[in-house]
Symmetry: C2
Subunit: 280 residues, 2 copies
């Protein structure tokens, strides 16, 4: 296929690289000429674009918008003016509901996407081949979404070695609020609590603390951006979370070890389901 | 040194193995004859004991009580009747305050200990050489603790490749409540919350969820045992944790992204201090 990737950061760069390797013709656009030069030198892209207008009058199969989430809609509005109606436009933003509805209204060829992979690093120099190997890649069509676009993206997702998962945009947002956005704050509150204990706690901390605190010690801009974009779903999950924790607190106060044991037996089983899903 | 290890599970077995390798004469005692037979066949111990009474009238430098936490005090009470006053008796329980005071009252040669390492596995077959390599090993003396016992244990800890950290028993319990016991419930509540979302959440979950949920999906018996043994300190930490989370909820409701960003910038810096400690 003939593909344009708009925004060559970690995600855009890694997608472009795998698609180039899979034999597609991939062009890249970045605000920073240094970035496109690096991407072309590394063989991440076949050619570079300087502005969206250059996409006009040419035959593109897929345009992937991989900008920061705040620039996705303005970019799609601009693309709708220049690309053919048969061009599939997609994005990689981690929140989908209202964004997908607005983008589809602007651009009939739009299909929302969200690859569930990443690293703590940022920028084109963090791009890597095989980043999405074995990962889930969510696609969030609306009833009016074009079948052609879905099929093209399913093919491109297979070329990444990833697994396409088709789901409703609002259900996607609820799910990622629970498994991706909530953990950031759960983990950050743990770091804040442990820090009140002073240096002894830091010296005694070992692998359990390291793992539980990882996402709360991650990229602040990313954590806040997700909370902002998925505010209502995150608040709902935070409320459910606090109810579980209040129940735990009551049981510990009461010395209700049987209920606490039953809870940990249940969460042990539940987590095994998750691991089973991922290893299959 | 001449050492007896009482209780040959993951911790007792791994300690015995490293000390045997370091050239000490290590005898083991287990309720299960199968366990001592395996330990002797593998070269984990040099000899086996059938009951505590066999320790009487012989010259032991160190007796390490590695039973489940509920059996530590009864074992030490029985040991105090049979071992010489110059024998150092230690334990490996993960909660120290009142246990150390009671054990010291029972047995003048007692020195509380807590190696900060482990795996999810249990039993002698999970024992491994080098389990404590690079780990912190807390020692929690009281003012009346014998210097000879501390020195012997510091030597044995060096032989494990671990780092001895001397701290107050009650401060130890506060610190482990924050960095080891609290994370279990923080993580379990996350699994319980995500499970309410159904299978889509499990399919979208990736490495961030995997890490944050690990200790909440661990050994239920261990998690409840620690809550039971360290109830008051854990409740205090849980309260502090809930206050941090309530603050985060308010900021998300208010859309106070600046305060949320400042918090994540702080937790990012704080966690880097922890990583620095561990890698040194």
């Amino acid at each position: 296929m003939r593909i344009a990737v708009i925004g060559l950061g970690l995600i855009g760069g890694s997608l472009a690289w795998d698609w180039t390797q899979a034999g597609h013709e991939v062009w890249g656009l970045s605000r920073n000429p240094e970035t496109t030069r690096y991407a072309q030198d590394q063989g991440i892209i076949s050619g570079s674009l300087k502005e969206l207008g250059e996409l006009a009058g040419e035959d593109w199969d897929v345009v992937a918008v991989c900008t920061p989430i705040g620039e996705v809609l303005p970019t799609i509005a601009a693309l709708a003016e220049v690309v053919a109606p048969t061009t599939t436009v997609t994005d990689v933003a981690s929140v989908k509901g209202s964004l997908v509805r607005s983008a589809t209204a602007l651009c009939a060829g739009f299909v929302g996407g969200h690859p569930m992979a990443g690293t703590a690093a940022q920028g084109i120099r963090a791009a890597q081949r095989g980043l999405f190997q074995g990962a889930v890649y969510a696609l969030t069509p609306l009833p009016q979404t074009q079948t052609l676009g879905l099929q093209r993206l399913e093919k491109l997702i297979r070329d990444l070695g990833a697994e396409a998962l088709i789901c409703d945009p609002d259900e996607h947002d609820q799910a990622v609020a629970a498994i991706s956005h909530l953990p950031v704050w759960v983990s950050a509150a743990l770091i804040a609590t442990a820090s009140q204990q002073g240096s002894l706690a830091w010296r005694l901390a070992s692998s359990g603390f390291r793992d539980t605190s990882r996402v709360g010690g991650g990229n602040p801009q990313l954590g806040v951006g997700m909370a902002q974009a998925n505010q209502q779903a995150l608040l709902g999950q935070l409320q459910r979370y606090q109810a579980h924790l209040a129940q735990i607190q009551t049981w510990i106060e009461q010395g209700n070890w049987d209920c606490l044991r039953a809870l940990l037996e249940q969460t042990q089983r539940q987590r095994q389901q998750f691991r089973g899903c991922r290893s299959s």
